[in-house]
């Protein structure tokens, strides 16, 4: 009874339709979150083998935890904590040296706007504690490190602080570095499509399956709303803003991005988003540009052909670097 030409054709046709309707399920997206480096980290991986994706994500999280153990000044035996505890030399891992060298490059290019030496300033403000305070000028001057010196003096893998006023804090670059290492791990595990988002510091590997990753940029003054979106493949996007870690006192907002020249929160921008080949570079540049303000910050970005940026100035005006103008979709 099934040996009927019409029935056979229809059965085959409908069977194909059934298979076609399941086609998107061939590629799965696995998303996992973890709390690392004091922030929420979300890793997404796209592929057909979910077990492989899960393993790769778990390994990437482990890599990020190792970065935290190496770079956090709060972890007692980390390379950074050990350097902060002594005026003498100390041996450091090559990863610390490499990151410090990148940070020093950005410090020089930004005329000191980026600093890895502001741990003392950060402690004084205590912004992320229950009792933040507004320090006096005298208190700040007592902890401000010299502007024209690097944070660390390096001789191969031997390092020491350039001054006892230097309290190493790589918060402006280490999170981006962790994102880069996580992406490297995912790539080494054979993934071709993945993203790592560490509290807004984003790195993407490939695209999202066949299309680019779509990145939303938070509006600095409208919670829950986007300022713009852009598409990206194999890039990093980092945003520094004054709206997430701050406190208010006497009607004034004090946020966590300090100007190394004064020890005060920088006041030229509401937010800065930088697109660059690596999240560590994007992280450092976003901080430097925020401190420099819109004009000098944009000049810094335009000097670097591989980096682009979107700056929202203190008055709300948005300025975009030349290479990013065509890529942004405003909301």
């Amino acid at each position: 009874m099934l040996n009927r030409p019409l029935s056979l054709l229809l059965v085959i046709g409908l069977g194909l339709l059934l298979l076609w309707s399941q086609r998107d399920r061939a590629a799965s997206e696995v998303t996992r979150t973890a709390l690392i480096m004091g922030t929420l980290v979300e890793i997404k991986a796209v592929g057909s083998d979910e077990n492989k994706l899960e393993d790769a994500i778990n390994n990437a999280f482990d890599v990020m935890r190792r970065v935290e153990a190496e770079f956090s000044p709060q972890v007692p035996n980390s390379a950074i904590a050990r350097l902060n505890q002594t005026a003498e030399t100390s041996e450091i891992p090559s990863s610390v040296r490499d990151l410090v060298e990148l940070g020093e490059q950005v410090r020089l290019e930004s005329n000191g706007a980026f600093s890895m030496a502001l741990g003392g300033v950060k402690e004084l403000w205590a912004i992320e504690t229950e009792n933040p305070q507004v320090p006096t000028r005298e208190q700040l001057e007592a902890v401000l490190p010299p502007l024209d010196s690097p944070a660390l003096l390096l001789d191969g893998l031997i390092a020491r602080r350039s001054s006892t006023l230097v309290r190493l804090d790589l918060g402006g670059i280490a999170k981006g570095y962790a994102v880069d290492r996580a992406l490297e791990q995912l790539r080494d595990r054979g993934l071709r499509s993945a993203s790592v988002n560490a509290g807004g510091d984003i790195g993407v590997l490939g695209g999202h399956a066949e299309r680019p990753w779509r990145i939303g940029i938070q509006h600095p003054r409208k919670q829950g709303e986007l300022l713009a979106t852009l598409e990206a493949r194999d890039q990093a996007i980092v945003t520094s803003g004054d709206y997430e870690r701050y406190f208010e006192r006497d009607g004034r907002r004090y946020h966590h991005i300090f100007d190394p020249r004064s020890g005060q929160p920088a006041s030229g921008c509401q937010s800065v988003s930088v697109v660059a080949p690596s999240a560590a570079l994007a992280d450092a540049l976003a901080t430097a540009v925020f401190v420099l303000g819109p004009e000098a910050g944009m000049r810094l970005l335009e000097q670097r052909s591989e980096a682009e940026g979107l700056i929202v100035a203190a008055n709300g005006e948005a300025i975009v670097s030349s290479g990013l103008k065509e890529r942004l979709q405003w909301r």
Binding site: S7, S195, G216, F247
Partner: protein, 128 residues
């Protein structure tokens, strides 16, 4: 004409089989295409899942973390943190979430709230 002739050659069983396959295909297409966005709330305490439930189900939840209880409200299809023992209350200031992929987190108390479901935000990742 040829089709009519072919159709006349089918039996009742043939037609029932074709109809069953057509309905099954239609159903599977509907399931893939027509899922509601942001359908489920998943709350993590550290690495463990502490709660999973529909966004449409109003609830008040206390999630116990290392610092104490984080109170999470699910109401009218939206989720927010009402109270938390963290020092800066950033999780509370993040307000409400409801779209698939949205996240809230009290990092010091290790509580993460995630909205899961079909993609409904228009972007994959948020830089902030």
């Amino acid at each position: 004409m040829a089709l009519k002739a072919l159709w006349r050659r089918t039996t009742r069983v043939d037609r029932a089989l074709v109809l069953a396959l057509a309905l099954l295909s239609g159903f599977s297409l509907w399931v893939v295409v027509d899922r509601e966005p942001g359908g489920q709330v998943v709350i993590y305490r550290g690495e463990e899942v502490a709660y999973v439930g529909p966004l449409s189900h109003d609830r008040l939840l206390n999630i116990h973390g290392p610092l104490g209880d984080t109170r999470v409200e699910i109401e009218a299809g939206r989720v927010r943190v009402l109270r938390s023992p963290c020092p800066r209350k950033i999780c509370i200031s993040l307000g409400q979430v409801w779209k698939s992929g949205d996240l809230l987190a009290c990092v010091p108390n290790r509580v993460v709230v995630r909205i899961e479901g079909e993609e409904g935000r228009g972007y994959d990742l948020l830089s902030r």
